[in-house]
């Protein structure tokens, strides 16, 4: 398949692994962070970790939008789902994210009309088919997904659909990266940049990473050779004493991003003064709400929600996993009390979550070592 097969070539992968091995300085430890759930998934699915030298460590950042959602926002969504006459729509991952008193799936079992959709456009179709009921779309995702919500809201406005509402949980990638780089907990050598977010925002917004923090970043695609190539490019920058934004994913990512998508985002959304991230607390200007021009579609203005900050369960270490401070298998409940079938934390629910990816693809290798 075009754009896929050529980036999964085993021979080229081994060659790249050899180049990476030749590039590293013996005795130096390299810690590289990826900040996209798609990369986390690829790294575990294809065993990319196993192809790297022992002194090149990949850590996983807050790149999975479902994983970074705090419990309080789930509670707010459930409160709206229980309102009389509401059809509550969300992506499949969201159904199983635990709030403080259950999940949206539990709410559905209790009688709330909760429906899974594949896109906001599906939710708009449901709204048009049920004009006497409010249809609320639980919008979630980084700048990759936000344009889809924005275009659907524009469509709803143009078509005069008044029973379509949106609860926006969209977030932006730059503020949490700054928060991570300002954190004394973490020493990073470089970043694998989020390829699909960069498709929308471009590579330019990441220039602050080399400029302000002196770290290299390489925007990368999601196939195994993409990730290996990005690691190779970061190590080359470090070896040559360079520090810049590079774009490995040129077949998709323009340096300036998708101008039309950025215009739509600016029209439909506005930055929240602050937004809570699981494990990271409140981060300024990191969340998107509907702009004044689209306030009539804002579910949070129509329905009252608890809006209460809820602490994560004590056993759950999703916060540390999301900041790259610990690996999934270092969490106390990983694979025992917390599994994809019975998750305690968000990172075990979404397929892009580090814990679920590690549980599904990586745990056997570790079990073998233990045996």
């Amino acid at each position: 398949m075009k754009y896929v097969d050529e980036f999964r070539n085993a021979e080229l992968g081994r060659a790249l692994a050899g180049e990476i091995l030749a590039e590293v300085e013996p005795g130096r430890h390299y810690k590289l962070m990826e900040v996209c759930g798609g990369h986390t998934h690829s790294i575990y699915k294809y065993g990319i970790d196993d192809l790297l030298p022992g002194n090149v460590e990949l850590v996983h950042g807050p790149g999975c939008p479902v994983c970074v959602l705090p419990m309080g926002r789930v509670d707010d969504g459930i409160a709206i789902a229980h309102q009389p006459g509401v059809i509550f729509t969300c992506f499949g991952d969201m159904l199983r994210i635990p709030g403080s008193d259950g999940t949206l799936q539990d709410a559905k079992a209790q009688g709330a009309d909760v429906r899974m959709v594949y896109s906001p456009l599906d939710a708009l179709r449901i709204a048009k088919a049920n004009p006497d009921r409010d249809v609320v779309f639980f919008a979630i995702g980084f700048e990759t997904t936000a344009p889809s919500t924005a275009l659907t809201l524009k469509r709803a406005k143009a078509e005069g659909v008044t029973n379509f509402l949106c609860m926006s949980n969209h977030v932006t990638i730059v503020p949490p990266l700054r928060a991570l780089l300002d954190s004394p907990d973490l020493r990073l050598d470089g970043f694998i940049g989020p390829g699909h977010v960069a498709t929308v925002v471009g590579a330019r917004p990441f220039e602050f990473i080399p400029a302000d923090y002196g770290k290299p970043i390489v925007v990368a695609g999601f196939e195994p050779l993409d990730v290996l190539h990005a690691v190779r490019m970061i190590l080359a920058q470090l070896a040559e004493g360079r520090c810049e934004v590079e774009n490995q994913y040129t077949r998709v990512v323009p340096y300036e991003g998708n101008r039309r998508a950025l215009e739509v985002l600016a029209e439909v959304f506005a930055l929240r003064p602050h937004f809570e991230w699981r494990g990271m607390g409140f981060i300024s200007q990191s969340g998107l709400k509907l702009s004044d021009a689209y306030a009539e579609f804002d579910a949070e203005l129509k329905y009252s929600v608890p809006g209460v900050r809820v602490a994560d369960p004590k056993a759950c270490q999703c916060g540390e996993v999301l900041k790259g401070v610990i690996k999934p298998f270092e969490c106390k409940v990983f694979g025992t009390a917390c599994t994809p079938e019975r998750p305690i934390g968000t990172c075990m629910v979404s397929s892009e979550g580090a814990c679920a990816a590690y549980y599904n693809f990586g745990r056997f290798a570790r079990e073998k070592l233990v045996v």
């Binding site: 896109s119 997904t145 275009l151």
Partner: protein
């Protein structure tokens, strides 16, 4: 996803993924598109030409 049919009037395209699954895709951010084009689609919206793959 590969474009199978384009509805310019509604700004939608019928697209098919590698598994043969078909769905309507919003194309406002990447038009013009033509039958046979590969699109990168997120949550029902095409955000770029080309580049299939995970994530």
């Amino acid at each position: 996803m590969r474009v199978q049919q384009v509805d310019d009037e509604r700004g939608l395209a019928l697209c098919e993924d590698a598994g043969g699954q078909r769905s309507s895709v919003e194309i406002a951010l990447v038009d013009p598109v033509a039958v046979g084009d590969e699109l990168l689609v997120h949550a029902g919206t095409a955000i770029a030409h080309g580049g299939a793959g995970a994530g």
